[in-house]
């Protein structure tokens, strides 16, 4: 009985220590990434190449999802708003939900699934096939050559993707609200413009997406770098990337939103 309790406690302790250790390791890794970042700016083509892989190749999924999210928002919003006789406010509803929340958050979640997993798998495989070791033996730091360019590419791509998401979402909402439902186009835009604040809504949305960009890309990179160099290790790391990125995005979103609303 006593030993069973002790075992449970030991299990908890082990996990806590384990996670703390990993967290510490990840912070040290983050520091390395920052220290070696100079390389990714001095040799910009490395970073540009990664922007292609993380940003450009994520465009399709981001744009298509944004379009549908915008249309659904308009349909649902109209359904509720018309009960209160204020269906013109649909533009406000669509734009505010997209710019403040859905744009940054959904983009980050899709990014984690599309680009994050690709980064983790690629780096994990490079490690498993000794490419990173080989680089080290050639006196080239893998953090400078492989990790830092991917990090900055992700941080750069995320706000652009989020802005595109919001914009296309608003267009989707417009297409449903105005031609399909018959809301007045002038009211749609003017009410939206009156209520969406540049500083409070749009800039805050961009700040969120930059933070999500840092979090998602970093998690993907760390999991790849930390993955055991086996097929199973890489596949587990990929899963962890999605789970951890999603949790980080949603948690950070809550924290940032509460600060932004209070301030």
């Amino acid at each position: 009985m006593f030993s069973a309790v002790a075992n449970v406690l030991r299990g908890i302790g082990h996990r806590v220590v384990d996670n703390l250790w990993r967290f510490g390791a990840s912070m040290r890794f983050f520091l390395y990434v920052l220290i070696y970042s100079g390389e990714s700016f001095r040799r910009l083509h490395l970073t540009i190449r990664e922007i292609y892989f993380t940003g450009v190749l994520s465009l399709i999924i981001i744009l298509v999802s944004a379009f549908f999210v915008g249309m659904v928002l308009a349909l649902q919003g109209y359904n509720t708003l018309q009960r209160y006789g204020s269906s013109e406010a649909i533009g406000v509803l669509v734009a505010l939900s997209l710019v403040r929340e859905l744009g940054p958050v959904v983009t980050a979640l899709l990014f984690a699934g599309r680009a994050g997993t690709a980064i983790t798998a690629e780096i994990g495989l490079m490690k498993a096939t000794e490419q990173l070791s080989a680089m080290e033996m050639m006196a080239v730091s893998p953090v400078a050559r492989v990790v830092a360019p991917r990090f900055w590419a992700g941080v750069f791509s995320m706000p652009l993707l989020a802005a595109l998401f919001s914009m296309v979402g608003v267009l989707g909402g417009y297409l449903v609200a105005v031609p399909l439902i018959g809301v007045d186009a002038g009211a749609f835009w003017s009410q939206m413009q009156a209520s969406v604040d540049f500083r409070e809504d749009i800039v805050n949305g961009v700040i969120k997406s930059v933070v999500f960009g840092i979090a998602c890309t970093f998690i993907a990179l760390f999991e790849g770098f930390d993955a055991p160099p086996t097929a199973e290790g890489v596949s587990r790391a990929t899963t962890r990337t999605v789970v951890n990125s999603s949790l980080a995005v949603l948690g950070l979103d809550f924290v940032m939103t509460s600060f932004m609303i209070v301030a």
């Binding site: 083509h45 540009i48 190449r49 922007i51 292609y52 940003g55 450009v56 465009l59 734009a95 710019v99 791509s157 706000p159 652009l160 993707l161 802005a163 595109l164 919001s166 914009m167 296309v168 608003v170 835009w189 939206m192 413009q193 009156a194 969406v196 604040d197 540049f198 500083r199 409070e200 809504d201 749009i202 961009v206």
Partner: protein, 159 residues
């Protein structure tokens, strides 16, 4: 893939992203009115501001000319001190009247400016000399009921 092709795609991506940001700022948001360029601030003391909030519009003749900057409580006079920022393009006379109005019956509250006739204009850091408080609905209703009651009392006494 060729480096030039990658460069082209990344260029398109960056341009589209920047365009989307601009689009959000101009078409979706109120970037135009939020960046009023130069402003001057004027403070007014109110006994009751109702539910006026920072960033509420300041209007004159129905046109937005500024925004509420901040709201403080003055512990000496027990009044609310409201600072508003007004666009430099719109100078107002010294004796301008600042009222707190409600948009519609239950809408948001804003500050309405009614220009006076003074020769001198308001400067940065000045005070509104004349202010009018927000109309608080509960107060109005209770006043109305009270006056009705006293009216009926009066008629009773007259009998």
């Amino acid at each position: 893939m060729e480096r030039t092709t990658i460069d082209l795609w990344v260029g398109i991506f960056a341009a589209a992203g920047a365009a989307a940001l601009f689009g959000l700022a101009l078409k979706v948001g109120n970037f135009n009115s939020a960046t009023m360029g130069e402003t001057y601030s004027v403070t007014g003391a109110f006994e009751n501001i109702g539910s006026l909030k920072p960033r509420a519009p300041v209007k004159s003749a129905g046109v937005v000319v500024g925004r509420v900057d901040n709201i403080r409580f003055d512990p000496e006079t027990y009044e609310a001190l409201v600072t508003v920022k007004v666009d430099k393009r719109y100078p107002f006379p010294k004796d301008t009247f600042a009222n707190i109005y409600t948009a519609g019956l239950l809408g948001e509250q804003y500050i309405g400016l009614e220009a006076g006739g003074d020769e001198k204009m308001l400067q940065n850091g000045d005070k509104f000399s004349k202010t009018q408080d927000a109309v608080v609905l509960e107060k109005m209703i209770s006043q109305f009921l009270y006056s009705k009651a006293s009216e009926s009392n009066d008629t009773k006494e007259a009998d």
